[in-house]
Symmetry: C2
Subunit: 356 residues, 2 copies
């Protein structure tokens, strides 16, 4: 068995409810496979602002640095969404931890479980067989460029450096090699300088991977192609902002946002989180889908700990649960009545059962 | 009858093929309704660079200024897409004319013709009844902010001024009043200063329109909701970059990009163009869909000339053509065999017949 320290940061809204299940799955895996996972808990986001005034307290950051991996929930709160003038904001916590831990590569695998073929707004025949791995750059772009604000003007600098594009492009090409050997780089090079640098750099790196087929696509076209013909994509690499948009959109390929996990990696520790947000409209109701958090735990086992069998075991347990007809609200099909629609805890418990 | 001067700028790629049909429709309408439309032609984009070295020759801009409306095709060429280092680029022509003519509001109506319900990758039951009007801000944002480039770094300034947000928000609210009285403003206010200004300003303008229901949505969520549940949207107002992405994506709601027209308005003259691009992969093959150009002509008749009957006449002719089963490749349904798939010219000719 392996010894690992895992920091759990539930964060805001449904983060609290779903992350509990990602953690329980890790506990169960540790028991079943005789690993020693030690858990700590940290606060971040709105809950951290309420408790300390700081969306990312130093203590949380220190715990993060000395952990082997982090399981995160979600961030954000309606209060800040409704008042853009607030200066201290939950999301600053998430952006800061990404930057401080050097988490420059955000992997978002979009894979449809066969059982959810009917849960999407997209036609099953368009979806069947879709399998996309997004590499979203996570510590650059307009997210981190200089910001300015006066009474009548506001700005953010969209900026990329060569080395930032190189390292994410290499990671994406390496992954493409182990998959269907196709890479699509998404930018807006017909309008943006930052995108022209992006394209130039990717064109350069492409030469190191002659076995991978490279395609460059404008973001507007990509947003369209993704739902028109998702099967045309294998690995997609793109900047922070475009990646944010495309992966949320791509959630419809997986049936629901509630199914999508992500891994952020970079300099050292890995950071695992659902791609859904804090969803304050359903927070506290016990109806959120815990599967994205559970699948984030599966990604952690695979990517940070190299425990491929254990990771597959979790994915199979999720699959089995779906096969048995269990569904949270977001993935229930209104046109079938042999689905058992349940809340967060009941669904999480079913996955645990299937792990044993 | 009315007297109008119309500048036609076919531009690049399929722009040449489809704009001919937008123009023919205007000629036919003039004949049938005894209007006097005088046409001039102008060059812009790659074709203008080839001819003059300038993507927007002064002569074209002068013609534009003295016209009552402009029918534009498309812009862009593979040569520039493949070589991001080229300094003179076709798109600069389009961006410059938008700026010079003060075309700050880009209207993109997304409406599905019943006949195309099956042409989309989205399920018919999700689509049926969708009717969205996008207001995309068109002369600000990261498109027009200061650009910088060094060997190892590139940047574009995402910037908005209060007055820019105010004027587009007002136009969007005015339109919402004449429709289902719902407005959704899309931004990324949880991360971007420019978006926080955007949201603040829209919240202010909202108070002037208490009869319109306002919703604020983050761009990532909007990109998802748009395909998950397009019917929830009525009027959508957003910035230049987010509008570019969302409206291309929304083309799947209308069955195909080849169906979508747009109107850019502002200080004086109106500018009408399909939202599809130059599509160099199919340019010169005679298979492009002319309906977006024809529907752009219909928008011109309505918005710039106030000729509502004539505009409706064109839309009805398009509808009739689709009802008769005529389709270009992009909107043909592979699962039906009572569709007559035809090229650009045959399709355009069918619409003309239906106009008479
Ligand atoms: C909460 C927000 C700051 C975040 C982002 O935009 O990166 C989220 O949308 C995500 O995708 O992780
Ligand atoms: C060609 C390009 C510059 C343009 C844009 O991004 O505005 C196009 O995509 C559009 O939507 O009109």
């Amino acid at each position: 068995g392996v010894d690992k320290k895992i920091l759990v940061i539930p964060g805001d809204g449904i983060g609290q409810e779903v992350t509990a299940w990602g953690q329980k799955v890790l506990v169960t895996i540790a028991e079943n496979y005789k690993h020693n996972f030690v858990f700590e808990e940290g606060i971040m986001g709105h809950v951290a602002i309420e408790a300390t005034g700081n969306p990312l307290p130093d203590e949380t950051l220190e715990k993060a640095r000395r952990s082997d991996a982090i399981l995160f929930g979600a961030i954000g709160h309606a209060k800040y969404d409704n008042d853009p003038s607030l200066k201290v904001r939950p999301e600053q916590g998430l952006l800061k931890i990404r930057k401080e831990l050097g988490l420059y590569a955000n992997l978002r695998p979009i894979k449809l479980f066969d059982e959810l073929l009917e849960a999407s707004s997209i036609k099953p025949e368009i979806l069947r067989g879709s399998d996309i791995l997004f590499f979203r750059e996570l510590t650059g772009d307009v997210y981190f460029g200089e910001k300015n604000r006066t009474e009548n003007m506001a700005s953010d600098l969209m900026i990329y450096h060569r080395y930032e594009v190189e390292r994410i492009a290499r990671k994406a090409y390496e992954a493409a090699r182990t998959r269907r050997k196709k890479l699509c780089s998404v930018d807006k090079a017909n309008v943006l300088e930052a995108s022209r640098l992006w394209r130039e750099v990717v064109q350069g790196i492409a030469k190191e991977y002659p076995d991978v087929e490279t395609e460059h696509m404008f973001i507007d076209n990509a947003a369209m192609q993704l739902i028109k013909d998702p099967k045309r994509f294998d690995v997609v690499v793109t900047g922070n902002l475009f990646g944010d948009i495309l992966t949320d959109e791509a959630s419809q390929i997986a049936g629901s946002m509630g199914m999508l996990a992500s891994a952020s990696i970079g300099d050292s520790v890995g950071f695992y989180e659902p791609i859904h947000g804090s969803a304050h409209d359903i927070a506290g109701k016990g109806i959120a889908n815990p599967l994205a958090s559970i699948l984030s735990a599966a990604l952690m086992l695979d990517i940070s700990f190299g425990l491929k069998n254990e990771s597959q075991r979790v994915i199979k347990a999720v699959e089995a649960t779906l096969k048995q007809g269990y569904r949270t609200m977001d993935i229930a099909n209104k046109h079938t009545d042999n689905h058992l629609v349940m809340g967060t805890d009941a669904m999480g418990a079913k996955v645990l059962e299937n792990l044993n």
